[in-house]
């Protein structure tokens, strides 16, 4: 190949690979927990890619190399099996998935950590067809989403935020792509999770559990601000009455009765 083209080609190849890797990664994480999920995903992806190229390579190789030629009149060797080989290709996947399980387990203990004593800010998220309500019980603030104005959850960076998830009607899903996280809102069952935002910005989220007619429009945003801005926001929000929702959720008392018991 002409040397003149080598460098641009190399750059193009690197760009292509980098672009490809960008496309196959999760969104940029914006919480402490999400950083670990991202690393775990990358680990799983690398192992998956190795397995994929290895097995797909074997398939392609067999298909090209072992095509029947006109000279192939005699039967090929009739191999019925090979015990050692079969044990090897059972044990290696077994070990691989077990290691992946351990790695996942370590990350899960971080992502699912729910130590109430560590919670610095407590918010309650209420989902109902087809809007969100974000409440700060300690500050008496409630934010309702409307079709014109998505509900916005304002949280300070670097603090442990504890989210309580309650549904008033059907299942919903609280999903923020850049948190690399979602948790369902199930009627009759309260879910709690914690997160620690580590990046200032506004991040979109939307309902991930199919909830009926306007499911696709059930969006919200999370705005991560500095602690000072957060204090200012609290003061400002308390001084003005919360906007009345266009469609009041007005739950029946039984609909939000909190129970973890199953139906038995």
């Amino acid at each position: 190949m002409n040397r003149r083209y080598a460098l641009p080609l190399l750059i193009a190849a690197v760009a292509l690979i980098a672009g490809g890797c960008q496309a196959v990664s999760l969104r940029d994480p914006v919480t402490e927990q999400a950083l670990q999920v991202r690393d775990l995903y990358n680990l799983v992806f690398i192992i998956a890619a190795i397995i994929f190229f290895f097995v797909e390579g074997l398939i392609v190789w067999s298909v090209i190399r072992y095509r029947r030629k006109p000279t192939d009149t005699n039967l090929p060797v009739q191999t019925h099996g090979n015990l050692i080989l079969e044990v090897v290709w059972t044990v290696i996947p077994l070990v691989t998935v077990f290691l992946l399980f351990i790695a996942s387990w370590n990350v899960l203990s971080v992502v699912d950590a729910r130590d109430a004593s560590k919670a610095e800010i407590k918010v309650e998220v209420v989902g109902y067809q087809w809007q969100w309500k974000f409440a700060y019980p300690d500050n008496g603030i409630e934010v309702f989403g409307t079709p014109e104005q998505n509900a916005e959850l304002v949280v300070p960076m670097g603090k442990v935020i504890q989210v309580t998830l309650v549904s008033q009607d059907v299942n919903h899903g609280f999903y923020i792509p850049q948190f690399l996280f979602q948790r369902d809102l199930v009627p009759g069952h309260v879910n709690v999770f914690q997160f620690t935002p580590n990046k200032v910005g506004t991040f979109t989220g939307q309902c991930s559990a199919f909830c009926g007619l306007m499911h696709h429009a059930m969006r919200f945003t999370v705005r991560v601000v500095t602690p000072e801005e957060y204090t200012a926001w609290l003061a400002e929000s308390k001084s003005k009455p919360s906007p009345s929702p266009s469609e009041s959720p007005s739950p029946s008392p039984s609909a939000i009765r909190l129970t973890t018991s199953a139906a038995f």
């Binding site: 496309a23 999760l26 969104r27 999920v37 995903y41 799983v44 998956a48 397995i51 994929f52 097995v55 074997l58 398939i59 067999s62 298909v63 072992y66 029947r68 030629k69 192939d72 039967l75 090929p76 009739q78 191999t79 019925h80 099996g81 090979n82 080989l85 079969e86 077994l94 998935v97 077990f98 992946l100 996942s104 387990w105 899960l108 992502v111 699912d112 059907v170 299942n171 899903g173 999903y175 792509p177 690399l180 996280f181 979602q182 948790r183 369902d184 199930v186 009627p187 009759g188 069952h189 879910n191 979109t204 199919f210 009926g212 499911h215 696709h216 969006r219 129970t259 199953a262 139906a263």
Partner: protein
Amino acid sequence: MAATAVRPIARPRTTLYEWLTTTDHKKIGILYTISSFIFLGVGGSLALFVRAELAQPGLQFLTESTYNQLFTMHASVMIFWVIIPFLAAIGNYVVPLMIGAPDMAFPRINALSFWMVPFSGLVVVTGFLLGGAADAGWTAYPPLSSIKYSPGPGMNLWIVAVMLVGTSSILGAVNFMVTIFRMRAPGMTLFRMPILTWTVLVTSVLVLMGTPVLTSALVMLFIDRNFGGAFFDPALGGSAILWQNIFWFYSHPAVYIMVLPGMGVISEILPVFSRKPLFGYKAFVFATAGIGALGFSVWAHHMFTTGSVFLPFFSVMTFLIAVPTGVKFFNWIATMWRGQITFTTPMLFSVGFLSMFLIGGINGVFSASVPVDYAIHATYWIVAHIHYVLFGGSFLSIMAGIYFYFPKMSGKMLDERLGKIHFALMYVGLNLTFLPMHLLGLAGMPRRIADYSPTAGWNDLNLAATIGGFMIGASFIPFFWNVFISLRSGEEAGDDPWEANTLEWATSSPPPAWNFDRLPAITSERPLFDARHARTGAEHE
């Protein structure tokens, strides 16, 4: 009534009457195939409407209400009225022939199982004419599927139809099990059965254990909706999570119900066109049984994000089920290794299955890792996963089976050139449709949404998926043309056009009503191979 009365009169029966009343497993197999293709037209059109709507942001063709009906019915029709009956078609046609039996054990029950399929299918699509089909997703999670949030008739029709089609499956499963256990030809021991027969047997066990559980869930939902029950209503002391547990207890094994017989088809085709026996026959049987057994211990991986699941158990079991699947892949590749491969259309679809189902296996392992599942659950990643399993896996194996068995069913060969065009279009189309969905999922696009924000960066990938979807649709044109011209003027197939291994090729094409005039000696899992090369099973065991 004395001497004047009853004397049987030989009435000439029309072909139509013959087909409508048949209890012949081969005709029933063909009826299953026709019914499945009709519902494939329905389910496929629904998918194309969905893809057309999603090609661009904004609602162009459909309302939210219609969209929700379409994706709900697409999944329901494809699962219950296309893939499962397609596999029942292949099983019905081939299994009695493979084991040297004259018919299924219960021919009339067999006819009943079949006729319940188109009937229930009509019931479920009638919803569109009665003010709205089911629209709560094929998973029908309460409370959304309750009478309060889904008041239309579609949901009730859906429940009744799925119960009916489930009953059809249960009857079929019993029939297959009795046939396989009681009607094998002399010499056909269990470990000489073709792998396809094994996979149908394991599938039947899964159906028998899982489907009644689904039926019970449907009965409960029906009572909740129509008779004031509260099994799933948390406001009255029921549990919404209960449904998810019962539903997935059936519906996860249902994925294996939809894949195992396909794996069986592939395991018949690869040895024939590689001119080698299946590598590791017994390991393959145990892997099939292993997948079946593990299949009942992984259901709650669909529920990781609900916060009410014992995560370590379901995570580790979900990881584990990758192992027997991996064993099968290596068996298949080792079967081709050092073989003499010819690329007929059935072989092309089989290799297509290997390369695509591999993706469906690997991208499923991501969800076994609970924290990763938190990030990708309910996004388009999952849509990509299920379609690589059910389209790249089940459906390609079904097409492989149809190309493989068409000469036996009709006595005519299909045109190879048109078959290859079909394969190429479908293979490219399916990757163009479902590969971008991984990226959409990673980018944060939830599934089951009728519309998306134009600024979310999902436009191009969605457009690509839509183009791919229509390519898949177009790929059926050469296929149906091929079937049409081959039935009219195809090359005669003869008994055994592929130099195959198993008993169904030891009789004429199509076989007589009684299947066999005589059977070759059965001393291994490849009786025809032994006969062709004057070997006995003892020489290669």
